[in-house]
């Protein structure tokens, strides 16, 4: 037992280091002007990029607001559709079921840029190109395979038993779902929300092509600075990007915790 705990601690420590060390490097680079070999620490520090981040040409708060709103909406829509799809596949039998399961994985099979350019033409024809609705639609398409897959597993594991029980006790289908299945599905719903949020939040090429640059997100501002080679500025933006995504996860987590406490836990 002791040995296993040592091993798991080691594994945990390695994993944590792999995640935290690059973040530390980002923190350093965001305030670095020049850091040349073989200096251990930067030779010249500078607050230039933080000034640019907070007071520069882009309005950071507006960018954060629109990115989080878009990601949140994509997460909600994708999870809702995923939940319905999962129930259909996990709890019912119908002809062509395996075809449906395959069909929702299709967006994963097509490379992102190909998908973006192709869907752009279609959205142009129906007038949704360069609009938020168009971008939302494309983000949902990108995250739906993950939502559906996560929720199908959870729904199948939980089964329809609790709802049947509730129905026997006189609950209508809606009551039966909310009181019977939903609490048990919550962990899966949280995973689906987080997954679709981060997928939407980090979309670059699809947002760029479908949104035509008119729909502005943090990722859209961040990538040109990375390509432009300004390491300090890219680091500042990357920190803002990672930090804000983490913050949203914390909020999701808090919601679920409160929800579970309210239900008395399962």
């Amino acid at each position: 037992m002791r040995k296993k705990s040592l091993f798991s601690r080691l594994a945990l420590g390695t994993a944590a280091a792999c995640i935290l060390l690059p973040v530390c490097l980002l923190v350093f680079w965001s305030v670095t002007a020049r850091w040349s070999w073989p200096s251990l620490l930067p030779e010249r520090w500078s607050l230039r990029t933080l000034r640019e981040l907070f007071f520069g040409s882009q309005n950071l708060w507006q960018l954060l607001g629109s990115s989080v709103a878009l990601g949140g909406a994509a997460a909600a829509v994708s999870t809702a559709i995923g939940l319905f799809a999962a129930r259909a596949v996990a709890l019912y039998d119908f002809p062509g079921k395996s075809l449906v399961r395959f069909a929702w994985l299709l967006p994963l099979l097509v490379p992102g840029p190909v998908f973006a350019v192709g869907i752009h033409l279609t959205l142009l024809r129906i007038g949704l190109a360069d609009t938020i609705s168009g971008v939302l639609l494309v983000h949902v398409t990108a995250s739906l395979p993950y939502s559906a897959a996560i929720l199908t597993d959870v729904t199948a594991a939980l089964g329809g038993g609790l709802e049947e029980q509730a129905a026997l006790l006189g609950a209508n289908p809606v009551q039966a779902f909310f009181a019977g299945s939903l609490p048990g599905l919550m962990p899966g719903i949280l995973s689906s929300l987080s997954m679709s949020f981060i997928l939407s939040y980090s979309q670059y090429f699809t947002t760029l092509i479908v949104g035509g640059g008119r729909v502005k997100t943090l990722a859209l501002t961040l990538v040109p600075y990375i390509q432009g080679g300004d390491r300090s500025l890219a680091s500042s933006y990357a920190l803002a990007f990672t930090g804000s995504a983490l913050l949203v996860f914390v909020v999701f987590e808090a919601f679920i915790h409160r929800g579970r406490k309210g239900d008395g836990g399962i």
Binding site: A33, R34, W35, S36, W37, R44, S46, R48, E52, G56, S57, Q58, V117, H120, L121, L124, R125, I126, G127, L128, A129, D130, T131, L208, I209, G212, G213, R214, L220, T221, P224, Y225, Q227, G228, G229, D230, R231, L233
Partner: protein
């Protein structure tokens, strides 16, 4: 299913109509409108300007100088959208294929091969340069460099925005020499083996550097009228290929691989991994010194026989929703005032002709402090060579890949 499709299509049409209704009040035909009518029509509208968004200083300048200027003088809202030129052209080509009469892009920042392909594929609005009053007022309309973008006649399809010129830079505290010719560069590389390289083609700067080497070895005149044929070009540049291959053993990683982009080369120089770099921004070194990225002893230099310079331009998209507004903005961009501001804040070589400036304007340009480690405008322009025809550029890039890398 059919009903659903019909509904979606109908919805699309309604949305498209709603999108179109925003551009009332434009003159029916811009080509016959007077300048006053165009300025009037542009009042209260929004103009979108699409171009590369990776330069923090330019983004800031557009947001804090150009946009307020347009608002104040013409009541135009200038919306700047950062997008790579490849993606802009892909988007326009898609819109063209979909038959979209009204797009979302008004102005584009463009030049060279991209201008060539955009013009060939009908992605541009058409001739407008002669309509702008500031063309006559500030631009030298006889200057072949302005009239030809990589040897492609611009025919009024685009207006000059700024000038670039290839420069070399190194740190006098690390290497006292400044190689002023291809031959001196070879001995410089031999002296500092493994610490010089250039960006892999088709990087913009790497490609210009190789063309500059070709000019050094083979002269520049013959290329101005050369056919874009692989074998013709290859036999013409053979001596330069020999030179580049002789350089390889002394380059970073023995010339087996090259850094992916000019920004990587800049970063490798800043990190001390390289002793020399090259840039298309002639005043990039002074900006680097001010930001603390480069050491104070970094300085710019040129080849004695000159380096390639080119002009970058602003054009209008074929389906621009607001061409009148775009013309007004472009006209303002080539005014002495905004060119001076670009020169001051962005250290961008201006496109206005010195002969057409008033004494005051000329004094204002001369008074600009270009910072440390750079060359004067006169020095740069005295060592400026014209670009090759745009069609030769991809051919040379292919030849380089086949004949130089790892050879």
């Amino acid at each position: 299913m059919k009903k659903l499709l019909a509904f979606i299509l109908a919805l699309g049409m309604v949305l498209a109509l709603a999108a179109c209704s925003g551009k009332d009040g434009q003159p029916a035909s811009l080509s016959s409108a007077s300048w006053e009518e165009i300025v009037d029509a542009a009042k209260g509208t929004t103009v979108t300007f699409y171009g590369w968004g990776g330069d923090e200083d330019r983004n800031n300048w557009l947001a804090s100088v150009a946009a307020p200027y347009m608002k104040e003088h013409y009541d135009i809202t200038l919306e700047v959208v950062g997008m790579n030129i490849d993606e802009i052209l892909a988007k326009l080509a898609g819109e063209k294929e979909a038959g979209s009469a009204s797009g979302s892009i008004d102005m584009i920042w463009i030049n060279g091969e991209n201008f060539y392909s955009a013009k060939e594929n009908g992605l541009l609005y058409g001739a407008f340069l002669d309509k702008l009053p500031n063309t006559e007022a500030y631009i030298d309309t006889q200057d072949p460099e302005t009239l030809n973008d990589f040897c492609m006649p611009i025919e009024g399809y685009e207006a000059p925005y700024g000038k670039a010129q290839l420069v070399l830079y190194n740190d006098s505290a690390v290497t006292p020499e400044t190689p002023s010719s291809a031959q001196e560069l070879l001995s410089y590389c031999q002296q500092y083996p493994g610490r010089v390289t250039y960006p892999a083609l088709p990087d913009f700067t790497g490609s210009a550097f190789v063309r500059n080497i070709i000019y050094e070895i083979c002269g520049w005149e013959q290329f101005q009228t050369m056919e874009a044929d692989y074998d013709t070009v290859k036999s013409a540049v053979e001596p330069a290929l020999d030179y580049l291959r002789s350089l390889n053993p002394y380059l970073w990683n023995q010339g087996r691989t090259f850094p992916d982009s000019s920004t990587t080369v800049d970063a490798m120089f800043a990190d001390g991994e390289l002793v020399m770099g090259m840039s298309y921004s002639p005043y990039g070194v002074s900006v680097g010194i001010e930001n603390g990225v480069y050491t104070d002893t970094t300085r710019t230099f040129l080849f004695e026989n000159g380096t390639i310079g080119n002009t970058n331009y602003m054009s209008i998209a074929f389906n621009a929703p607001n061409p009148a507004g775009a013309m007004v903005v472009i006209n303002a961009m080539i005014s002495a005032q905004l060119q001076l501001s670009q020169y001051e804040k962005l250290r961008n070589l201006p496109v206005v002709s010195p002969e057409k400036l008033s004494a005051e304007e000329k004094a204002a340009f001369d008074a600009v402090d270009m910072g440390e480690g750079v060359l004067s405008q006169d020095e740069l322009l005295a060592h400026r060579l014209p670009e090759m025809p745009a069609k030769l550029v991809p051919v040379i890039e292919e030849i380089w890949l086949n004949e130089v890398v790892g050879k």
